[in-house]
């Protein structure tokens, strides 16, 4: 009775003060947001192209719009960096919801380049068998809405339709990825997560061949992703309950005691419980996206089912974005909670490395093997995240850049090895590939050696960077586990090389399609990045080092 009596005037005063205060229009720093805006603009333009440009001209227009948009976005990132963002200054733009700092710009630049290379592979139309009537066939379902195996689908295929929607979808996913590692508060982080995820769910379902597998993978990805999002959102709510703010910096202040927590809520939840549970749930959501154990189960199915160019894009770019967000969350919002999250992350990192490496040994499908390898690499990256120092950040940034190009290249090679049923992804089909197409086999071997972390490839530079950062941060046991898992991982990479070079070629073996300039460029860029970052990594380390300070 008395409680309502007290509460009523309080509510009343809240309303009256709110009404009395002038409402400020949000201040938007368009220049600082320009990379994201350019990509979004290009994506919208892509939708308009889909609506208004005749079907025949769509492919070319879409490709041009996408690449121009990406070039513009990259120019915007470079422009921001040139004016001193990331090195001498940093800013929280758009009312504190987007951080324009070193890690943001580095990762945004990486993501745009990765997407550009990924789009080249996505745009490939010369690998599928073609006919006179349908001269260009891409990797995607001619009409995604048609039931697999139905007359509609056949008709669409005969008509030579193609799913050019994939270009704006890629750009939308990219825009989410650009927001994700740059988000300055939890809601923006969540919006980034959703914008990047939804187009990806869709793109996974678009495979031209093995459509049921593809659709199954999309549904799995969607359902598990929705769970992860729900966890993330719940965690956000709990953290808001703890801190009374969604700003990452604001949360950090409350954790350190520089700012008062939300007294009423905190008292009812007995101290840090909200913080710990909320933080754990958010981290869970992010670990799902990076594919860390025990939130990895979606990875192999989705990697296998999705159209291979999409897998390559997704494997590379999602990992970059999600690790960026994880770094920001742990280093900006929860650095003072290090002693609480470190033991858990140790466990996650060890499990991720070990399970990824060990289970990969038993795989017989190239795409599944690469999926488990990506899990193992997520574990290696986590050792750098756990380091908890500036080297850790720069090492993870470098590793992400190095790893993403290797991944793109490797999946692009997978699209080339084909037989009558489409891509020949079963490992036994790769026997003797080195003798039939030495160049393709040597390139793939280069990517595998980079995954294995052999010196003079980018994989080694990255591995050395994260391990030395982890050792410096006091995580020596993690380094030892990492090294042992690397040895296990080397086994299955080498096994593929053995098959390609030492096994007898099969009489009915797959043929290697001659790629157009698009896929060729994608593979060449991947190989070049692998070698350059392996032999002359210093400039990239400098860049990552300069870019390794977060703004709070």
């Amino acid at each position: 009775m008395s409680a309502t009596a007290v509460a009523a005037p309080a509510v009343h005063s809240l309303w009256t003060t709110a009404a009395a205060a002038p409402i400020h229009a949000p201040k938007i720093e368009y220049a600082q947001l320009s990379p994201i805006l350019v990509v979004l603009g290009a994506a919208v333009a892509g939708i308009l192209v889909e609506a208004f440009v005749p079907r025949r001209a769509r492919y070319g227009t879409q490709l041009a719009v996408t690449l121009i948009g990406l070039a513009g976005a990259f120019a915007a990132v470079v422009g921001l960096a040139a004016t001193g963002y990331a090195t001498t200054k940093a800013d929280l733009a758009a009312m504190g919801s987007i951080a324009v700092d070193g890690p943001s710009l580095f990762l945004q630049g990486t993501l745009i380049l990765v997407t550009a290379v990924g789009v080249l592979a996505i745009a490939e139309r010369g690998l599928e068998p073609q006919s006179r009537e349908v001269p260009h066939v891409d990797a995607f379902a001619p009409q995604a809405a048609a039931v697999p195996g139905s007359e509609d689908e056949k008709a669409a295929a005969r008509a030579g339709w193609s799913t050019t929607e994939v270009f704006p979808l890629t750009l939308f996913a990219l825009s989410g990825m650009l927001v994700f590692p740059a988000a300055g508060d939890l809601l923006t982080l969540f919006i980034g997560l959703e914008i990047l995820s939804l187009p990806l769910y869709l793109m996974c379902a678009l495979a031209r061949r093995r459509r049921l597998l593809s659709q199954e993978s999309a549904v799995k990805y969607f359902l598990l992703g929705a769970f992860a999002s729900a966890f993330f959102l719940f965690g956000t709510a709990l953290l808001y309950g703890y801190a009374g703010t969604l700003d990452l910096g604001g949360i950090a202040k409350v954790v350190t005691g520089d700012a008062a927590p939300n007294a009423a809520l905190n008292a009812s939840a007995h101290g840090d419980a909200l913080l710990l549970i909320g933080g754990a749930m958010i981290v869970m959501g992010l670990l799902f996206k990076v594919g860390a154990v025990p939130f990895h189960a979606w990875t192999p199915d989705v990697y296998q089912g999705a159209p291979t160019p999409i897998t390559g894009f997704m494997a590379a770019a999602t990992k970059v974005a999600a690790f960026g967000a994880l770094l920001r969350l742990l280093y900006v919002a929860l650095p003072e909670m290090r002693w609480d999250w470190r033991p858990v992350m140790w466990g996650v990192a060890i499990l991720t490395m070990a399970l990824g490496a060990i289970v990969a040994v038993t795989q017989t499908d190239v795409k599944r093997m690469l999926a488990y390898s990506s899990i193992a690499h997520a574990g290696f990256l986590l050792t750098g995240v756990i380091a908890g120092n500036k080297q850790g950040v720069s090492a993870v940034l470098f590793y992400l850049a190095a790893y993403s190009f290797v991944t793109l290249g490797a999946f692009a090679v997978v699209t080339l090895v084909r037989d009558a049923g489409g891509e020949a992804t079963h490992l036994s089909r790769w026997d003797g590939l080195g003798r039939r197409s030495p160049l393709v086999a040597v390139t793939f071997a280069l990517f595998l050696l980079a995954f294995a972390g052999i010196p003079l490839t980018s994989g080694f530079s990255g591995k050395f960077a994260v391990f030395s950062a982890a050792a410096k941060g006091g995580a020596v046991p993690l380094v030892v586990v990492g090294v042992l898992c690397s040895a296990v991982a080397a086994f299955f990479y080498v096994r593929v090389i053995v098959r390609m070079f030492f096994a007898e070629p099969r009489a009915d073996g797959p043929s290697v399609a001659v790629p157009s300039a698009l896929t060729g460029t994608a593979i060449a860029v991947g190989a070049a990045a692998t070698l350059v970052l392996g032999v002359f990594p210093q400039w990239a380390f400098d860049l990552a080092d300069k870019a390794s300070v977060f703004i709070r």
Binding site: R435, A452, F464, A471, V479, V494, V498, F502, P537
Partner: protein, 531 residues
């Protein structure tokens, strides 16, 4: 800036590897000639390096130093001491010899489907790539730089083992093993080689990371003055030593060697045991002993025992082998035991002896293995039981085989004798019991060499051997320089010792350990002027 001689010495074979590998597969002759040209050019450069090296001068000479990856404090830093000089020269001498011996080993089969053939250029290109990486590993005075090439050389070696097997002239009669089976065994051996060495390398990687975190530098001269805590030093030492012991190989990490040598061509086998494995023993001297002297002394008892086990185990298993190449592989394990014994005797006689042993073992094993390779390719079998009475049909082959075999068992007058003697002297000086146990290995060495010779070369001429042709001119050209070196270094090892001894002195001063006063006049004479 002076002429970067050391870089060029490594860059020439590297360039040769790229050019040879890039030649079209059809141009076999051109590929071979190009490869041989680059190998000979490397030999000239190595000779120039040797000539420019001043034995009494600074520890590291002809140095080059450039910033490479400052983020990790890594420098592209080269420099040679006496030990590195002789090993670079050994590598450069062996490569053309091995290439000449393997001249037809990678030829395309004349018939058969196109995708079953192999490009000959790749075989020689891989050899040159290995040479380049080995040379730069010998020259590196930056731990990281060394590590990179120590690891990277596994890849061409792996392809060489797995991709090219022993070539047999004519049909493979009476061996009872199809080409497919042997190809499966070969790729297994290659994988085993790679995984063993990769594991060693990765353990070393953890130690390299730890070294960087503790000492903040990779430069060998700088690290010699660094102070590590005892625990850190020991752990890092173990990481390094594990990798080198796999490479060397030391019992019980040796099991990859017999397979790798047995399944590959004779030339590849020589590259493994005479060139690539030397990097392991060399690295023990340069890195384990110089950077971690305290930990080396701490680990010495265990290492010495393992070395003695290697000596005896390798020798005993060599006696019972049925396959000639595997026999030589086990003999090599025994010899690597001697080398490691000399290194970890921690006195200058042992180390000078070990270095000399590396050179002599390289030459004698190359001779034995290459001649065995000639023999095996003629008969189409590597089984000892398939031979007999060869000396009646092919006297030159049998004679040179005997000389190489006698060198392997360290007969006085042939090169390995001096080194084995010095190593044993060093071992006795350290712990007499160890020396005694090692001497037993010599007895077994006599056994496996002489029994091998007796079974294959003497006695009645076996069925498949009657038509065996003697050495051809090319093959004599392979064997002659090796024989000459065995004899020359057998009677006059002093030139090598003169180059090696001052460097051993530097290692010894790193160990902060004075030799006990020489009590043996021979030791005094050989060791003269070491400090």
């Amino acid at each position: 800036m002076s002429f970067p001689l050391l870089t060029v010495t490594a860059a020439v074979p590297a360039a040769g590897a790229v050019i040879t590998g890039a030649l079209p597969a059809a141009r076999r002759g051109a590929a071979k000639a190009t490869a041989m040209g680059f190998a000979l050019a490397t030999l000239v450069l190595a000779a120039v390096v040797t000539g420019r090296f001043r034995p009494g001068g600074a520890q590291y000479q002809l140095t080059e130093s450039h910033s490479w990856i400052p983020a990790f404090g890594v420098r592209y830093q080269l420099g040679v001491d006496g030990i590195a000089v002789v090993l670079v020269l050994l590598t450069a001498v062996l490569l053309p010899v091995v290439m000449l011996a393997s001249w037809h080993d990678a030829d395309l089969p004349a018939e058969g489907p196109k995708d079953k053939r192999r490009p000959a250029g790749a075989f020689f290109g891989l050899m040159l790539a290995i040479e380049a990486m080995v040379i730069i590993a010998f020259e590196a005075t930056d731990v990281f730089l060394f590590y990179i090439f120590f690891e990277a050389m596994l890849i061409p070696m792996y392809f060489l083992i797995g991709g090219f097997g022993q070539k047999y002239e004519g049909r493979r009669a009476a061996v009872g093993d199809s080409a497919d089976e042997s190809s499966v065994r070969r790729s297994r051996a290659a994988v085993k080689f790679l995984l063993y060495n990769l594991l060693g390398g990765l353990v070393m990687l953890a130690a390299v990371v730890a070294l960087y975190v503790n000492a903040h530098s990779f430069s060998v001269p700088a690290l010699q003055n660094a102070h590590l805590s005892t625990t850190a030093e020991r752990l890092i030492f173990l990481g390094f030593m594990f990798a080198f012991a796999v490479k060397a190989p030391l019992w019980p990490l040796h099991t990859w060697l017999p397979g790798a040598m047995g399944e590959s061509t004779a030339g590849t086998a020589v590259l493994i045991t005479a060139v690539v494995d030397k990097v392991g023993t060399f690295a023990m001297l340069r890195f384990c002993l110089q950077l971690f002297p305290g930990a080396s002394a701490w680990a010495t008892p265990v290492v010495l025992v393992l070395a003695v086990i290697s000596i005896l185990y390798g020798a005993i298993l060599a006696v019972v082998q049925k396959d000639i190449k595997r026999l030589i592989a086990y003999a090599s394990i025994s010899h690597f035991g001697f080398i490691i014994l000399g290194i970890f005797a921690l006195n200058s006689r042992g180390q000078s002896g070990a270095t000399l042993y590396m050179v002599n073992h390289g030459i004698s094993t190359a001779a034995l293995m290459l001649i065995a390779g000639f023999l095996i390719s003629r008969r189409g079998s590597a089984l000892i039981a398939d031979f007999g009475g060869v000396q009646k049909v092919a006297p030159i082959l049998a004679g040179t085989f005997l000389v190489a075999g006698l060198a392997t068992l360290s007969l006085p007058g042939l090169a390995p004798f001096t080194s084995e003697f010095l190593v044993l002297l060093g071992a006795f000086e350290h712990t007499p019991a160890i020396g005694v146990a090692a001497v037993v290995g010599i007895v077994f060495a006599a056994l496996y060499v002489l029994v091998l010779y007796q079974r294959t070369m003497t006695g009645p001429v076996k069925d498949g051997v009657t038509a065996l042709k003697d050495l051809k001119v090319r093959e004599i050209a392979v064997v002659a320089p090796l024989m000459a070196l065995l004899l020359f270094l057998g009677v006059y090892p002093q030139p090598v010792l003169n180059v090696v001894n001052p460097s051993v002195g530097h290692t010894m001063s790193a160990l902060h350990k004075q030799d006990p006063k020489p009590t043996h006049p021979v030791a005094e004479a050989i060791n003269g002027g070491s400090r």
